[in-house]
């Protein structure tokens, strides 16, 4: 798993690559929460490189979403691979996340 953060005055972009599962969900949570804790409340989670996510990983997404909702910020997901999209569909998460086909659309 690789997490890359680009801070911006507009939407800060967090790119996550590889697998997010039980073994590294905590690491992922820590990396993401650092950004959130710094007061940034407009975030795009770029999932173009994400090819597996377990329920532990989904929990991190949910935590960020809750934080954004609490701080009246916004979390946008973009570029979900079909397998990830499937998981979001099955779990009903599609209804609580803003999901965009690609980064450009998410930035608009």
């Amino acid at each position: 798993m690789n997490v890359n953060v680009v801070i911006s005055s507009d939407y800060s972009i967090i790119s996550v690559e590889g697998r997010v599962d039980t073994t590294n969900a905590n690491e992922f949570e820590k990396a993401v929460m650092e950004v959130v804790a710094s007061g940034i409340n407009r975030i795009i989670l770029d999932c173009s490189g994400l090819n597996y996510i377990s329920s532990s990983g989904l929990r991190v997404f949910l935590i960020v979403q809750k934080k954004m909702m609490a701080s009246k910020g916004e979390l946008r997901l973009c570029s979900l691979q079909p397998g990830i999209q499937e998981i979001f569909d099955i779990s009903g998460f599609t209804s609580i996340f803003s999901i965009y086909p690609d980064k450009d659309l998410a930035l608009k």
Binding site: L58, I90, G92
Partner: protein
């Protein structure tokens, strides 16, 4: 394997070195000593030869003077014819070495004497006899002693001979020619001789001793043996006949050199039948008589003393090496004896006795270092084992607690099949296999109000103890809510509300809950973010439920859950599962997948619940092929019999 001790090893190496050193030293010593002995013996032999030559010359040279003086006297006509015999007699009486003497004149020198005139005196016992020799039977002019000096105009030593008339003693004769003036002209007039006994010669020669049995011999100018310890040779053999007899060309060569009057200072070697072993010879010539003295010494005697010293040396060295071995053995044993104790201690430590006593080392050397290392290892091992024991105990305690937790968790879900023997309308079978001791999956089913069959399946986010606690909370809440409610959406909504409150950890449960009315087959259900179950309708292709719009339970307390409803016909089945089934991975990270689930169901549409689940387990097992299970696996099948 043969055990080699350190001392044996060291002794072997030191001994090999010492022996090599000794061999080199000994070879050098032997070589030089041998050469020195050879040189000394050779010098001794040359000295003896020369000394003997001098001693013989001391006798022969004065003997030569006598006839030479007589010759001068005759030449100067100092002696009259009649005074010759008295003169010779008095000469003999004062020269003990002279055995006889003759003055032999040329034929017809004194006309009044006739053809022959040779006055002769000789010893016979203690008296001196005289006679005038020469007649038809003894024509002395033709004798060697007369002829040779006459021809050569030079004095002549005859070959030695046995004087048969004079007591059979070895004699030699010295002949000197004399001249007188006839008509003013110096003319050869005769020969003066002296006969010398050679008994003293034998005496002188026999005094020559070299080594134990070394000896000297004397050769005449023709190579005849004059003196020799072997009496048989004397006057009977020449050096050449002996050389031929013994087949020794070297001896013949030596003989030639000797009779040519040469001296040799380099030893020549040969063998002889007369004397065993190799013999060496040095020789020197007698200048007057052209005889030659040979000094012979045996090769083996020359080095006898050296061989004796060698044997003593060898014995000394053997004794020395034995003592050296013994001393090395003692030293090495003393030095290494702690090692044996260390080895024993190491075995005891390996067997777990960390308090074993180490050998005491009083020296401040490598052995002390070893002792300290050992002691350190002993302490560290002891500490490590104590820590390990503590850790193991703690781990075992946790494992034991986890086992108990698993039992408790398993006891919370129904696990007796068939569960409702008195309800023929339904049959259920379910399995739950946690990836760890405890897991976050759950299933449950129970009957509400006697004719409503409620069933649920769920998957808590994450794994292990936190998930299992969350699962227990969920299961307990479902049961308690269902006591009062029978609508799936209400049950799930209430559950969500309860869980979402104070959910600091943001954990959630995907949850499917259905309520089947056993009287008419109507199934009402709510799917909160769970994998869609499969409905297997009789005589139709199995299909998955529609994907849900509802999010998992535990996220937002005021989320509004709805419900759906379908009509089941007798024989219809529902297969529910968690993502541990669809996402079961093999070593290539390939997922089991919904497609495979549908395939297996398609091949087993008529199978009863238990068999269908077994087929699914076989499929999963074949797919993962021994790869470790990473997520909890839960499956439940319900058949509605109407």
């Amino acid at each position: 394997m043969k055990k080699t001790t350190l001392s044996r090893h060291i002794i072997r190496n030191v001994l090999l070195f010492c022996i090599a050193l000794f061999l080199v030293t000994f070879s050098v010593y032997y070589y030089f000593t041998r050469n020195t002995i050879r040189e000394t013996t050779r010098e001794n032999a040359i000295f003896l030869a020369n000394n003997t030559v001098n001693r013989i010359e001391q006798v022969l040279t004065p003997a030569e003077k006598i006839p030479e003086i007589v010759a001068k006297m005759l030449e100067s006509a100092f002696l009259s014819k009649d005074s010759l015999i008295p003169f010779l007699k008095s000469m003999l009486s004062i020269n003990k070495n002279v055995y006889g003497s003759i003055i032999a004149y040329e034929p017809d020198y004194f006309p009044e004497q006739g053809m022959y005139f040779a006055p002769y005196v000789c010893r016979q016992g203690d008296t001196i006899h005289s006679v005038v020799l020469g007649d038809k039977n003894y024509e002395y002019f033709y004798m060697d002693w007369y002829q040779i000096p006459k021809m050569t105009n030079a004095p002549y030593w005859s070959e030695p001979y046995f004087d048969e008339g004079g007591g059979n003693v070895l004699m030699t004769t010295y002949s000197v020619p004399f001249y007188t003036y006839k008509d003013g002209k110096r003319t050869f007039s005769g020969i003066v001789t002296v006969d010398i006994s050679l008994e003293w010669l034998t005496e002188i020669m026999s005094q020559v001793k070299i080594l134990n049995t070394g000896y000297a011999f004397l050769l005449s100018r023709n190579g005849v043996i004059i003196t020799h310890p072997n009496k048989d040779y004397v006057m009977n053999q020449t050096i050449f006949t002996i050389a031929k007899e013994n087949n020794q060309p070297a001896m013949r060569e030596t003989g030639r050199n000797m009779i040519q009057g040469k001296s040799n200072f380099e030893s020549a070697g040969f063998r002889s039948k007369w004397k065993a072993g190799k013999l060496w010879i040095n020789y020197a010539a007698l200048p007057s008589s052209h005889w030659s003295i040979g000094v012979i010494y045996p090769d083996d005697e020359m080095f006898a003393s050296l061989h004796k010293i060698n044997i003593i040396l060898l014995i000394l060295i053997l004794v020395g090496l034995s003592m050296l071995s013994f001393v090395i053995y003692k030293i090495v044993n003393k030095l290494t004896s702690p090692l044996k104790h260390f080895a024993a201690s190491a075995r005891l430590i390996a067997a777990g006795n960390f308090n074993v006593h180490l050998p005491e080392i009083k020296t401040e050397d490598e052995m002390k270092e070893l002792h300290n290392s050992f002691s350190f290892m002993q302490k560290e091992l002891g500490d490590y084992i104590v820590t390990l024991k503590d850790t193991t105990t703690a781990k075992e305690k946790i494992e034991s607690e986890l086992r108990i937790a698993k039992e408790i968790q398993m006891s919370m879900i129904p696990h007796i099949f068939p569960p409702f023997p008195d309800l023929p309308q339904i049959d259920v079978f379910a399995v739950l296999k946690s990836a760890k001791e405890v897991g976050g999956d759950l299933y449950d089913f129970f009957v509400i109000d006697g004719n409503k069959f409620c069933f649920a399946i769920g998957d808590v986010s994450g794994k292990g103890v936190p998930a299992s606690l969350f699962m227990a909370v969920t299961r307990t809440l479902v049961r308690s809510i269902s006591d009062k409610e029978s609508s799936p959406s209400v049950i799930v909504g209430t559950l969500n509300k309860s869980i979402s409150l104070n959910n600091e950890s943001s954990m959630f449960v995907t949850f499917f809950l259905g309520v089947l009315d056993l009287s008419n087959g109507e199934l009402k259900y709510t799917n909160a973010g769970h994998n869609p179950p499969v409905i297997i309708k009789k005589n139709k292709e199995a299909v998955m439920f529609d994907k849900t719009k509802f999010i998992p339970v535990g996220l937002f307390e005021d989320f509004d859950y709805g419900q759906s409803s379908i009509q089941l016909e007798p024989g219809d089945k529902i297969f529910l599962y968690t993502d541990g089934v669809s996402e079961a991975e093999n070593s290539e990270s390939e997922l089991f997948g919904d497609g495979t689930i549908m395939d297996i169901i398609g091949r087993n549409v008529t199978a009863p619940p238990r068999e269908l689940i077994h087929k699914m387990e076989e499929g999963i097992s074949a797919h993962v092929n021994g790869f470790a299970q990473s997520d909890d696996i839960t499956m439940m099948t319900i058949v509605y019999n109407g």
